[in-house]
Symmetry: C5
Subunit: 248 residues, 5 copies
Amino acid sequence: MKNELFKNGRSLILAYDQGFEHGPVDFNELNVDPQYIFDIAIEGKYDALAVQSGIAKHYYHGENTRVPLIIKLNGKTRFDDKDPLSLKHCSVRYAASLGASAVGYTIYLGSLHEQTMFKEFASICEDAHNFGLSVICWMYPRGESIKDEFATDTLAYAARVAMELGADVVKLKYNGDVEATKWIVKSAGKAKVVIAGGNKVDESEFLNMTKDVISAGARGLAVGRNVWKSDRPLALSRELRRIIHNLK
Amino acid sequence: MKNELFKNGRSLILAYDQGFEHGPVDFNELNVDPQYIFDIAIEGKYDALAVQSGIAKHYYHGENTRVPLIIKLNGKTRFDDKDPLSLKHCSVRYAASLGASAVGYTIYLGSLHEQTMFKEFASICEDAHNFGLSVICWMYPRGESIKDEFATDTLAYAARVAMELGADVVKLKYNGDVEATKWIVKSAGKAKVVIAGGNKVDESEFLNMTKDVISAGARGLAVGRNVWKSDRPLALSRELRRIIHNLK
Amino acid sequence: MKNELFKNGRSLILAYDQGFEHGPVDFNELNVDPQYIFDIAIEGKYDALAVQSGIAKHYYHGENTRVPLIIKLNGKTRFDDKDPLSLKHCSVRYAASLGASAVGYTIYLGSLHEQTMFKEFASICEDAHNFGLSVICWMYPRGESIKDEFATDTLAYAARVAMELGADVVKLKYNGDVEATKWIVKSAGKAKVVIAGGNKVDESEFLNMTKDVISAGARGLAVGRNVWKSDRPLALSRELRRIIHNLK
Amino acid sequence: MKNELFKNGRSLILAYDQGFEHGPVDFNELNVDPQYIFDIAIEGKYDALAVQSGIAKHYYHGENTRVPLIIKLNGKTRFDDKDPLSLKHCSVRYAASLGASAVGYTIYLGSLHEQTMFKEFASICEDAHNFGLSVICWMYPRGESIKDEFATDTLAYAARVAMELGADVVKLKYNGDVEATKWIVKSAGKAKVVIAGGNKVDESEFLNMTKDVISAGARGLAVGRNVWKSDRPLALSRELRRIIHNLK
Amino acid sequence: MKNELFKNGRSLILAYDQGFEHGPVDFNELNVDPQYIFDIAIEGKYDALAVQSGIAKHYYHGENTRVPLIIKLNGKTRFDDKDPLSLKHCSVRYAASLGASAVGYTIYLGSLHEQTMFKEFASICEDAHNFGLSVICWMYPRGESIKDEFATDTLAYAARVAMELGADVVKLKYNGDVEATKWIVKSAGKAKVVIAGGNKVDESEFLNMTKDVISAGARGLAVGRNVWKSDRPLALSRELRRIIHNLK
């Protein structure tokens, strides 16, 4: 692994793939600019920043390389289907050549197209192994066959499948239940669970959630909107690091 | 072949792909942990342990390599279709590099997608030949065109197709009929038939089934839940070995 | 070509792909065993035996290599569609490495999937050329657009397409009309026509059919059930050789 | 280019792909034999003969190589769809190895599958460039979206797309309008337009059509049935050469 | 990059892919001839000319190479679908060998097939990187899920996705709103926005639009019909250069 994303087994990741997944409706005049995000990632001492390959190509040069990079290898727009499919559009080789320390890929567990994503993801794990990169699985249950994407059984299944396909890290949403999360973390075996930040919420609520998931055994957060939509992103980042990395 | 899975033509295989196929609902606090299963496989002197590639990547190191490994190259979740498709998500080359002695693949005979699985499976046989690995076919009749997956004709057909595609070993469910199983075993020709353990049942019932299938010419078992859901897995394993390997 | 399948332009081929296409329902305790068939092929002095790759892998060793082998590169089960598709599941390279003298492939002319099979078949012809193997096209009109698979026009079309795609030999069913068969043979140009044996019929009826098709210009038979379901397979084989190879 | 198909910018091509596209119903006892066609092509001094790869494989040897060969790389049967698809079944490399001077491919403009054919055709142009072969596009508007395949706009569009995809030559049907054909020829730019002979018609009618299309700027004909169904094919061929090559 | 398409960050591109996308109905006796367009491109001092690969093959020789070339790698006809798909039919390697300085590709954002186009486009970006070519994304929202292709949010999303996939340049339609265009340009980050010329309109209207989009931050135009359907294309080109390149 080129850069260690996890320090003492914990990681604080800044996620910035929302421009692709949701569109610039998530952005304002500041955070529409990828440079603004790189600045937060570096000054906020994030363990990694997750972006699409095009952002890596255009922005991951010079000073910006001070933050380790995770390149997302697939992505879809908000114009998606009830049973979503998100195809790999960037090779592990190209991600490595752009400077990535790790690669990410989203699987929609339960989608009619899950076999296609399993196949692409497992192949990414094999390729990443050869390039010495870590692999992070964005694991979201979705599709007609998923009654409740937040059911503990479903989240535990998601965690398990990611690990059995070879993920080093699995990124999941939090269902608000600490005990359930312990079981989900166990289901993931040696794959490390990180929790998605999700929609922008009140700062103290977000910090409490962070404490809860860490106490349940999660290894960190992959946070986006709660940080870069905040009017005090560096102060919040400091709080998050304190919780996740157990600083005084 | 790197490790001989069959000793004097018989084999006792521990199967642990249920986390992928069914989800962690099959598990408890003990058997959710792959290490617990590796411990049973080694102490129970299993001839092989069957897992997905991600479990091999995370757990097949050090002491754990004392049990020969079968890596399943495909898999699907319980969110499947009436006519299931399970695609290869791991190459034979990668399985070999992870230390596998054999590779496994599931074919759903009779599914609308059977041609796709025949093609992938036969190609796996060709690749495995070059890497000196054995190939085990999980052969399950399934889909709208299958009226009764336990009909003797259907199971004999399943056994035959696996052999004609190049399987070294074919794993089938047992339909409870010893005479029928003799014909099924004959239909498989030189491919060795092993019987799937299936749902957890009463221990003496399970041992009787084992005796029956061995008497019908099956070469062993691929057993999972009946062992690792047992509260005395090592004692049961010892009984199974005694029957299958004809020990005193 | 490694072994010449045709002697003085004629050939008597033993076909044993029914276990795959129909299932073991075609078999009895004797002919379910591939070794029984190899024995008939060798003692009956067949010019070739046609099997799937798995049978080649398991049985084409030692004495059995005395009969030249044709490996079928595709196959489907009886659980098929109105518009059947049968995909290549064995490469020409692998067939050659298993000892094949020739390769076979089935095209369902008129099926909605005929383009896929044309593409695979022509590519097989190109590959086989490089390995010095002959190519035999099992050519069966099938699908919603085929009103009568035994119409002379349809069989002549089948023969023609096989030749124009590069077949060395085309295997067709016989429609019982000697004059029609002459036209079908002409439509095949330099590709050699052999006739499929079909369902088990009365022995004298089968010998008469053989005389008829040879008189119409066919170059031989690819016979299965009529021989290996016979209770005197070697005597019948001797009669067939006498007719086809014009022996006294 | 191995052999120049065009002499002073004009070409007379003999087409013999009807056995594949229509079946032997187009043939009689004479012209069912590819050798009969090769004889006409050579004695009739055709600039090229167009056939499928299988005919090349079986017949393009010895004296027959005196006529330059065009190998059709795709083809479909008369059992086709309202929106036809014809897939490449022969590589440019294999066509070159069989002795082709040029390769042909049919695109059904307007078919639901046109993207697939555009992709295959343009790739053929790229490959043919590397082998020094010319590429001829059989361009036929077809499918639900085509109201009138003989509309001038539609034929001009067909000519244009062939050129923009890289065709050296585009083969079109004639809509009987000399002025329209001038516009169609202009739309093809530097790609040379040749006109398809079509159904067998009265000889003088056919010669008049030939004069008309040449006067409109077409570079020649690709003629089949009108020649090889004629009872005086060589005399007719002489007339066609006279018109096309402007001989006295 | 072989030739710099942007001078001081601005570019005036001549587009001539309408023969493929719309057919020769867009043309007259003059502009149907690609040479006429090359003459305008060179005499009008365009920074680049965009064409399909076949036009490059037939016309990009000698004097014509004085204008840098953009080769479009996909294209579809007007016979398209509500949810359009346009597949890559030319490799970056072949485009480079034909002399291209840049390659172009159209994505229909929101189409049911967008994943296929994302995958092809991102792979083109990776390949182009290796050949030192720029990549221009023709980005058109289209399909059932797109209510209004001119909505600012939609155009900003289009710009963003192109950049995140790796486009160097994104070509968009103009929705007539200068302030909206500023936001769209910001959403594209370091990818340069150029505006499509669109249908032929009144010359002064077109010049005003050009001034507006440049004032909003667009880097130039990709103009076709407004120039080559003009009866004074060189005079108009001079005006456009004056605005875009800020000449006196």
